[in-house]
Each structure stands twice: as structure tokens, then as C-alpha cells.
Symmetry: C2
Subunit: 161 residues, 2 copies
């Protein structure tokens, strides 16, 4: 992958029904794939499906940015890697990169700002201490590599003009 | 709608299959809806489905930014309005806003940078004179209102760090 320090979290192959009239993977499916990757990240930090149900909590995306860099054709295999860019008590900013399995060419990237939510509201609430610790540990691992050139440097992403 | 000067281009109701485990419309469906709205805009400028096939041209999204502002529940009706933010010989930067049909509350917005492409390459090619003229006419109409507060001011969107 183009950017070092990404944690591989999702692998798939472009399905025939993911392809649009241009003969390549269509935009909603990139978002689906990046969403599956975010879910894999939430599993890692203790906010997987079972934990969300048990604690009536969830993680809502409030803003995303996607770069469509190269086409993906039907049956192409790819993987998606992730790193934490920034985080605070209630928010996490993730960076995903999608690379072709064949030659590692980066075909797309996405930045996702997500909020921790009590689904009974819904209202924004802090991460539990255990989840926060897990995010901090992953962020510290990721910070060993320089930030990806495309990504924002902080949660300020959310408020840019 | 929150922002004046938007051209209504797409109306729909949230379908049961668009709703995820959080009980609200899921991210890929926002992208689908904004894509349908972009297609309606391409119809307006003479780059609808038939024209694209006849001239082996198309419009590829290369970058998008989405703001998820409020939840959309199943069976909620909404409309999407669009304006041109910026354009040049080969590119157009669109701003979409999705509002609830009931009270006009803006629930999401998106900015989309798209390139005109010769699908035989695919390679980026200039818009035809007729299409360029049509984009310029719509952009001139839209420029009567101040730019939406969320949107970029220019195509520089594509190259921001």
C-alpha cells in the first residue's frame, strides 16, 4: 500500500452487482466497503455488534471524504487498511485506504469522522474508559508512521469551511 | 431548504431496505441518492444516459465530501437540491443538499468533484461546447446567491492537503 502504517481490516472482490453503467465499481459500494472496514475497526476497540446492542451505544459517521483514484473492475480483489488520525473523548477520525490485491495500487481513500452515540437518545456520549484506552493504544501504534498525505491533521476536519 | 439558490432535482422516500442496524438511512444510500441527483444534473447539461452512450463520454466522480447532519428514518420523504460551485473545461464541482420534505430541515449535504471522461480510454477530455455553455448558464444562475457555508470556494477542493 502507498501509505505505511495501515492496519489491514477488510478484504473483498468486486461483485458483478457492484458495477455501474461505467463498467466500474460504483460510488455507493465504496462507501459500503469503507463502512465494513469501519465496523471492523469498531470490533477492534470493543464496539462490535454485540457490545453495541448490550450497551445501547453505537458509532455514527457525521462527515466523510472520499477520493476515487483509480477504477475497480468486476472480480478485482482488494484490501482496505486503516489508521487512526485523531481522537478525543467522544470522536474518532479514521483514514482508510483501498488497494488492489494484485499490485498494491491505491484505488481509493476515505476519511471518516465518527461520534460515539447513546442510541436511546440518540445523543453523543463519551467512549467508555476501556474503549478510549483501546483507541489510544491503536492511535499510538499508528503515530509511529507519518500521517497519510491526503488526510486531515486533526478533528478540525469537521469544521473546515 | 437552509441554503437559498438550490435547484430541486431529486425526490424520494426512505425505503425499508435503506435502513441499517442503527434504524436510520445508511451511508451508502446517501451516496446513491446524491449520485441520482448528480445524474439528474448531468441530464440538465446534456450528458444524460443517451448522450453518454452516443458520444462514449461520461462523468466520473473523483472526490466527494459528505456531511451527515440529521438522521433519516424509514418512510421519511425528502428532496435534494443542487448548485454549481465551480467549473472549468473538464471539471465541475457540485453542491447537493438533502432536506426533509416535511419541514425543510437539512439532513445531509455533499460536495462532488467530477471529471468529463472519454470512456474509450478512459481519459479526461474537455466538455463539448454545448455542454460547457449549459454548465456556465446554470453556474451564472446559481452565483446570484452567496455560496453555501459548507462548500469549498473552488476546484482547489481536489488538491487540499
Amino acid at each position: 500500500m502507498e501509505t505505511a502504517g495501515l492496519r489491514p481490516l477488510y478484504r473483498a472482490t468486486v461483485k458483478p452487482e457492484w458495477v455501474d453503467y461505467n463498467g466500474h465499481m460504483s460510488e455507493p459500494w465504496y462507501v459500503f466497503v469503507f463502512g465494513e472496514t469501519s465496523d471492523a475497526f469498531y470490533d477492534l476497540i470493543g464496539l462490535g455488534d454485540a457490545a453495541r446492542r448490550a450497551t445501547h451505544s453505537s458509532v455514527y459517521t457525521v462527515e466523510s471524504h472520499i477520493w476515487f483514484l483509480r477504477e475497480l473492475k468486476v472480480r478485482e480483489a482488494f484490501l482496505v487498511g486503516t489508521r487512526v488520525i485523531s481522537h478525543d473523548a467522544k470522536r474518532v477520525l479514521l483514514y482508510h485506504e483501498l488497494a488492489r490485491a494484485g499490485d498494491g495500487t491505491v484505488a481509493a481513500a476515505s476519511e471518516i469522522l465518527a461520534l460515539h452515540v447513546d442510541t436511546n437518545g440518540p445523543r453523543v456520549v463519551p467512549f467508555s474508559a476501556a474503549v478510549k484506552e483501546r483507541i489510544a493504544a491503536l492511535a499510538a501504534e499508528d503515530a509511529r508512521e507519518p500521517p497519510p498525505k491526503r488526510a486531515s491533521r486533526s478533528l478540525a476536519f469537521a469544521t473546515k469551511a
